[in-house]
């Protein structure tokens, strides 16, 4: 290069290289930069030589990683120099220092264009290279046609045309219009006839980009591509300089095959045949040789060919040939090749059905699992996981378990997870599954996440035959001297639940089992202790007759931990102590946990998450997809931190309470309880949803009179509103009440889903439900008023939408700006499956719904979640309707339900300062942006209540803005897709002497929003029932106009 003879430059470079440390280097560079600045600023100007030298220095400093924020002018000016050396420096440094967004580049477009259309080939090359590196949109607009001309011209030398093709590629990427010329595809076809391989490679790069976007126009290129491929593989007419280690231009081969992959399978039999012949040649001709570079090249070609084979859905024979080839690869010692072999096998698994062929190599793959190279181990683990099915599951899982003890720590968790998933998915008998998991915990307890043992619990609970076996096994494992904590958890849970099933066996008396568990009690963490406490109480209460000695010891533990620092442990101890004191009547509370609804394994999801960053198409992902399609019920993963309440035994009520927001009365906390009379003691025992249903059975409490039929629904409604979301969130929450109620009135529908229905259902309501069940011909009626539920949901985000004896629909919604997410909880309260379930939303024009499929069947006592996404397009008062229908046995039931997706859900209160408000208010001149109306027949209510109503409608009330205290002023933002965020201002002027009329003014920037909001508020003011959240004591707190807000007035307003 032109470096020779520049002494200043080479001294500078050697100075920098000789620097001992970063600091010295920085100070040297700073000095040089100052020098360059001084030189550039020099009034006398620079000689060409100096300019060149300093620009080179700048480039060197820039390459060392320092900021370069001056001198670009000098650099760019070199481009227009007439001589080659300067031009070259200018082009090189410009393409390094600048990027396409710099304004400086605009200055040189013209010079560059002159170089491109000029006659000097070297200048053409320099210019094309620079544009190919940093050309932006501006270049694309002004140069595209010139570059095309060069590419198509016959007079230019190949080296220029090559650069032109690459330059055009860049321009096309920056601006797809660059090749948007009529007949370009024909020209591309024409270009593919080119004999020069260099030009061909560049053109092929361009073609890859073009067909990636749209392949339709380029169909005619396919035969040409096949011919090129043929020519290359045959090695005909390939100049020496384009063969790389004897392989004819591997780059062009790879690119050509990449192009072919963009087209759907080729139909033309002739082309197909010749293509397959070519591929066959590649497959057969590739082998592992010693030379690394040759290997790299030939393997790149081979793997591209494999991808093409998979893409073309080739015949089985060819596929097996591929697998055989890969089998050869994974037997090689060289790790890189093995890695590639394994990876491509995994990829083949995904695309085509070659499992059987791959299985032949299982032994070899398992050997790779013991490879010293971790990336190979990972790949083979992936492959094993992918190729596992019922036939080889046992073998593979066995292998994984063995490997687990030797695997590195980084991979163990994934390994444990995968072993758990495989054993679950392909278990032929569940005993084996339990064995595997127990071994897993024993061998790598630290790496077994909670989800794995939760899953075991689910299986054991749902399979009665498994329970005895699992309990016995758990006891065996727990009896060992050193036991991992996860094992203690699992075994503690299983023994707590099912130890009574073992009672007949020798050495399995409750006391023995207790001893075994208690052995580990001292050394486990608090959370596990809490779990074990539940196990103890279950063991104690399940043993009939109770061993007084055991009882003594268990109670002693409870007493000891009664004042534990941990609130959970403390609460459990106190509750269990009281339970034990109640005696055998409490046994039912500690009955076995009911079965779990069928649910998707959380493990698969987790495995999917873990995989996501590894390979974009991994076997796990595919498997997840397969599982998804067959899964009946999709349960969202537990989002709150309270852990899976599903799985902790009698802790379910307790945990549920923790998971709930503060809307449970504080009396649920033991500390706040007055202990003394039997009633409150009972409610201290468990969360109140457990204690309430047990009331009638409690001998201490005076029998409560059966509730009046009339108030029941409203009371239930209120409570249901409070509790429904909880009950829905924690499906097995109904476990405890169920186990009590069921014992007396099995197989009745018992309406246990919400955990509170028994409260009124112990009386007439339940009888009604039974009657309904007995007489199948009776039409199914909702329990309660659909209208009331809807009205409650208007101002709340969660609650019950619909409930009848068989099904309960809860709703939970979350609103953010223009979009919202609704989740429908379809709960089957019934003991049989509900079939033919349909839930279709009929959206009004102003809303857009994105729904997820609803499963056709809801299993007994299961709950299904259907999420919907809602987008608000513009304001409207219309509501969406949910068409819900299902078959109970053979009886079709259907209901049309209004969904509470109203204008107010898309509102968000804002706080506005007084000045701001006034300014905006004035800016809205009048109709149609600002509407005013006197509203009559308003339901009379005090101002505070109205303010509350506004607040609950998300219309924030701005207090203190209006000097008149009888007025309410509020501001809120309405979000919709058409108008984005619209600020709405509302003013209500009330008349203290006549509460039935008021003047309402609404203003916003958008006229439909103004109108719709106005109408909506009017509607709410005139006929909303008293919102449930306003407690009856509100009127009394406002003594001023009590005569108007009395109950009579309220009634009046209602009528």
């Amino acid at each position: 290069m032109a470096l020779s003879g520049m002494r200043g430059l080479s001294t500078f470079i050697s100075d920098v290289r000789n620097c001992q440390n970063k600091e010295a280097e920085r100070s040297r560079v700073d000095k040089e930069l100052a020098n360059i600045r001084t030189r550039f600023k020099n009034d006398k100007g620079l000689t060409v030589y100096e300019k060149k030298k300093y620009v080179w220095k700048m480039l060197y400093i820039y390459m060392l990683g320092y900021d370069m924020d001056f001198g670009h002018m000098e650099t760019v000016s070199l481009i227009s120099a007439p001589k080659y050396p300067e031009k070259q420096v200018g082009y090189i440094v410009t393409s390094c220092l600048l990027n396409e967004n710099h304004d400086f580049l605009k200055l040189v477009i013209n010079t560059v264009r002159n170089d491109i259309i000029g006659n000097n080939e070297t200048f053409q090359c320099l210019a094309l290279t620079m544009v190919g590196n940093i050309g932006g949109r501006d270049f694309s607009e002004s140069l595209a046609s010139d570059v095309q001309k060069i590419l198509l011209s016959n007079s230019c030398r190949p080296i220029v045309r090559k650069k032109a093709a690459l330059c055009l590629l860049r321009l096309y990427r920056k601006n797809p219009d660059a090749v948007n010329v009529d007949g370009w595809s024909e020209r591309m076809v024409h270009l593919l006839d080119e004999r020069d391989i260099g030009v061909l490679t560049a053109v092929m790069s361009l073609l890859v980009s073009l067909v990636a976007k749209s392949q339709d126009a380029y169909w005619s290129c396919v035969p040409k591509c096949v011919r090129i491929l043929e020519r290359l593989t045959r090695g005909q007419d390939i100049p020496q300089e384009y063969t790389y280690y004897g392989i004819p231009s591997p780059w062009l081969q790879v690119k050509t095959m990449r192009v072919l992959q963009y087209f759907p399978a080729i139909e033309d039999p002739n082309i197909r045949k010749s293509l397959f012949e070519t591929l066959q040649r590649i497959l057969l001709g590739t082998d592992v040789v010693k030379n690394v570079n040759k290997n790299n090249a030939s393997h790149a070609v081979l793997f591209e060919a494999l991808a093409l084979v998979m893409h073309l859905n080739a015949e089985k024979e060819m596929l097996s040939q591929c697998v055989a080839l890969l089998g050869k690869f994974i037997a090689v010692r060289e790790p890189n090749i093995r890695y590639l072999g394994l990876e491509n096998m995994t990829r083949m698994l995904l695309v085509v059905d070659v499992q059987d062929i791959i299985k032949k190599h299982q032994a070899q793959i398992i050997t790779s699992l013991k490879d010293p190279d971790i990336s190979i181990r990972r790949r083979s683990l992936d492959l094993l996981y992918g190729m596992c099915d019922v036939t080889n599951a046992k073998e593979i899982v066995e292998e994984l378990l063995q490997y687990l003890t030797k695997a590195d720590f980084g991979i163990r968790e994934e390994l444990a997870l995968k072993a758990a998933i495989l054993s679950e998915s392909f278990a032929t008998d569940l005993d084996w599954y339990v064995d595997v998991i127990l071994q897993l915990i024993e061998k790598a307890g630290d790496f077994v996440s909670d989800d794995i043992w939760y899953r075991v619990v689910q299986f054991v609970t749902n399979d009665e035959h498994l329970q005895v076996y699992a309990a016995a096994k758990a006891l065996d494992y727990l009896d060992k001297p050193a036991v991992h904590e996860t094992m203690v958890k699992l075994a503690g849970y299983l023994l707590g639940e099912y130890s009574h099933l073992l009672a007949r066996r020798p050495g399995c008396t409750p006391k023995d089992i207790f001893d075994v568990i208690y052995d580990k009690f001292a050394v486990v963490s608090i959370g596990t202790k809490a779990l074990l406490l539940s196990a103890f109480v279950k063991i104690l209460l399940h043993s009939q007759p109770q061993d007084p000695d055991l009882r003594e010891r268990v109670l002693e533990i409870f007493k000891r931990y009664e004042c534990s620092v941990d609130a959970e442990v403390q609460q459990r101890c106190i509750e269990y102590l009281t339970l034990c004191a109640k005696g055998p009547s409490m046994v039912d509370i500690m009955a076995e946990m009911p079965k779990f609804p069928v649910r998707q394994s959380a493990l698969l999801k987790k495995a999917g998450d873990a995989e996501r960053d590894v390979a974009e198409e991994s076997a796990t992902k595919l498997r997840v997809q397969q599982q998804n399609s067959t899964a009946l019920v999709v349960v969202e993963p537990q989002s709150n931190g309270a852990g899976p309440p599903i799985l902790t035994p009698s802790a379910a009520p307790v945990q549920k309470k923790q998971a709930s927001p503060s809307d449970l009365p504080p009396s649920a906390h033991p500390a706040a309880l007055p202990v003394g009379n039997g009633h409150t003691e009972v409610s201290a025992v468990t969360a109140e949803d457990v204690s309430v249903p047990s009331l009638p059975e409690d001998p201490v409490t005076e029998p409560t009179p059966p509730p009046e039929p009339a108030p029941a629904p409203s009371g239930a409604n209120l409570l249901a509103d409070l509790l429904a979301p909880l009950a829905i969130e924690a499906p097995p929450g109904y476990a405890a009440p169920d186990s009590i109620v069921d014992s007396s009135q099995d197989p009745g529908p018992s309406a246990g889903t919400s955990g509170l229905a028994p409260m009124q259902s112990s009386g007439p309501a339940d009888a009604l439900a039974l009657a309904l069940y007995d007489g199948p011909s009776t039409k199914v009626q909702p329990i309660g008023s659909v209208e009331d539920w809807f009205n409650a949901l208007v101002i709340k985000d969660s609650g019950i939408l619909y409930e009848d004896p068989f099904v309960q629909i809860g709703i939970k919604s979350d609103w953010r700006g223009i979009q919202g997410r609704l989740v429908l909880f379809l709960g089957n309260k019934h003991n049989a499956s509900l079939t033919n379930v349909r839930a279709v939303v009929l959206p009004p024009p102003h809303l857009r719904f994105k729904s997820s499929p609803v499963p056709d069947t809801i299993p007994p006592r299961a709950q299904v979640q259907c999420p919907f996404d809602v987008f608000c397009l513009r304001a409207s008062r219309e509501t969406a309707v949910l068409e819900f229908s299902y078959n109970n046995g053979n009886i079709p039931v259907s209901a049309q339900l209004k969904l509470p997706v109203l204008i107010n859900k898309f509102l968000q209160p804002v706080t506005v300062s007084a000045n701001d408000f006034v300014a905006r208010w004035r800016a809205l001149a009048g109709p149609p942006l600002k509407l005013q109306e006197v509203v009559r027949n308003v339901r009379p209510m005090p101002l505070i209540e109205m303010a509350n109503l506004f607040n609950s409608l998300h219309i924030g009330v701005a207090t203190g803005l209006d000097p008149n205290e009888n007025n309410i002023v509020s501001a809120t933002t309405f979000y919709s897709e058409s108008a984005q965020a619209t600020l709405c201002l509302i003013r209500v002027e009330t008349d203290p002497s006549d509460r039935t009329q008021l003047r309402l003014t609404v203003g916003s920037q958008d006229l439909t929003t103004t109108y719709e909001l106005m109408e909506y508020i009017k509607q709410q003011l005139i006929d909303t029932p008293p919102p449930t959240m306003v407690s009856p004591n509100v009127p009394t707190t406002i003594p001023t106009n009590s005569e108007l807000t009395g109950p009579a007035a309220l009634l009046n307003g209602l009528i």
């Binding site: 001992q20 440390n21 600091e23 920085r26 100070s27 700073d30 000095k31 930069l33 100052a34 020098n35 600045r37 001084t38 550039f40 600023k41 924020d69 001056f70 001198g71 670009h72 002018m73 710099h102 400086f104």
Partner: protein
């Protein structure tokens, strides 16, 4: 006694270990790699002297071209560790003859290992006094058995007695032909002044350094014109304090040789000095400070490519005194290309590595005013970066025989049993600490 360090490393600027010593097993030998990769190679080296990486705390300081790093894994006393490092460096300097850098370390491996063994035990600092250590760790290290020089038959010094005795810092039986005491009061002035000339922060940290060449076991007594001492004296002698200036000292710390009981009782600084050089006391003063220099800067940005800098510096100490090595650093923007100066005295140039104009005046007489005006040309840059932050002007100087605090030595008395005559030399010097003026 808290643990100070589990290991000590000496690294060069590239991060190579020059020498190290592990004192406890709780840190691995490879922890220094963590220091290199996580601390040295990041930009925040130098912003915080204590960093935690992988459960270990790294306490480090840079001296010349050496990083001294203490590694601890327990909850150690950081102040103790730093004090230990500072003392260690001082000790090495006294052994190496004043230099402490990479080469000095490389040339003294054996000696350093010997010293490192001695000065810390299981992470607890031991005696670091060079006077004492030199008794039993000789500078020569290993002595050749074939040495022609006969081993002098001096009775071995009773090191144990020395260390455990009442005056652990001074050897008995020292004899000098000429008995001399040198006393230096060295002060450094820290100042931050706003653009308008109001003082934002100003304090003086000073130390009293001594060098003693005295025979026997002398007892010294030092009197300063500080407030407590004078008041006490006035009380004892029941006469009013003299009208002169009294200085209030904050945060006084003494060398271990000072008799603290007598200080609390009589407020006099009396001590039996160690032999040679030592730091007698340190103090801080935050009120009544005489600033040696006033600086009046004016910096005007004229358009995007020109700046005018005008700095006027006025010395306000006595006309007979003078300041040495005055350096004024006026920061300029990063893209400065050229500067033309007009000076009344000294030399000035633009330093690109630190981005400032450096004006040096070798000798600056008292009660004079010097100015520097410069025309700075800037180069135009690609991007309009955010406006220049205008860092403060910095100043360096030394003013001999001047104390910014006004502290004076009133007397320095020496008593010895033999009653020899001593010569006392007293010097004052004021230096710039961080002397900054915003502009």
């Amino acid at each position: 006694m808290p643990v100070a360090a589990s290991a000590i490393y000496f690294l060069n600027l590239r991060g190579d270990v020059l020498i190290n010593r592990l004192y406890r097993d709780d840190v691995g030998g490879n922890m220094v790699d963590a220091f290199r990769t996580h601390i040295m190679q990041t930009k925040d080296l130098g912003t915080c002297p204590v960093r935690q990486v992988g459960g270990c705390s790294f306490l480090y300081m840079r001296i010349m071209n050496v990083y001294v790093v203490a590694v601890v894994s327990s909850n150690a006393n950081a102040a103790c560790a730093f004090k230990f490092m500072v003392e260690t460096v001082a000790l090495f300097k006294s052994y190496f003859g004043g230099a402490f850098d990479e080469d000095a370390i490389r040339n003294n491996f054996v000696l350093i290992y010997e010293l490192l063994d001695e000065i810390m035990d299981f992470g607890y600092p031991q005696n670091l006094s060079p006077e004492i250590l030199k008794l039993y760790i000789t500078q020569e290290g290993v002595r050749s058995p074939f040495s022609s020089k006969a081993i002098d038959n001096k009775p071995p010094v009773n090191a144990t007695l020395q260390v455990t005795g009442a005056v652990g810092w001074r050897r008995e039986g020292l004899v000098y032909k000429k008995n001399e005491v040198f006393l230096d009061i060295v002060e450094s002035v820290n100042l931050l002044m706003s653009q308008k000339g109001t003082t934002l922060r100003c304090d003086v940290t000073g130390k009293v350094l001594m060098k003693c060449f005295l025979s026997g076991m002398p007892d010294l007594k030092l009197g300063l014109n500080d407030k407590i001492g004078l008041e006490k004296e006035a009380e004892v002698k029941s006469r009013p304090t003299r009208s002169g200036k009294t200085i209030e000292l904050d945060d006084v710390t003494f060398h271990q040789c000072v008799n603290l009981t007598r200080f609390t009782a009589e407020k006099t600084v009396s001590f039996v000095p160690p032999d040679g050089e030592f730091e007698l006391m340190k103090y801080r003063i935050s009120e009544g400070i005489n600033l040696p220099f006033r600086v009046l800067p004016s910096i005007k940005e004229l358009g995007r490519t020109r700046m005018e800098v005008n700095v006027k510096v006025k010395s306000v100490f006595g006309a007979k005194m003078f300041a040495l090595g005055v350096v004024v650093k006026v920061p300029v923007p990063k893209h400065t290309a050229k500067a033309n100066f007009q000076l009344t005295s000294g030399r000035a140039k633009y330093n690109a590595a630190t981005d400032c104009l450096v004006w040096k005046v070798r000798k600056f007489p008292g009660q004079t005013e010097l100015t520097m005006s410069a025309e700075v040309e800037l180069i135009s840059t690609m991007v309009d970066k955010k406006t220049w932050t205008r860092p403060p002007i910095q100043m360096e100087f030394q003013v001999p025989m001047f104390t910014a605090s006004g502290l004076r030595v009133r007397f320095l008395k020496v008593w010895e049993k033999s009653g020899y005559n001593t010569v006392e030399w007293v010097r004052y010097i004021t230096r710039a600490g961080s002397y900054e003026i915003r502009c």
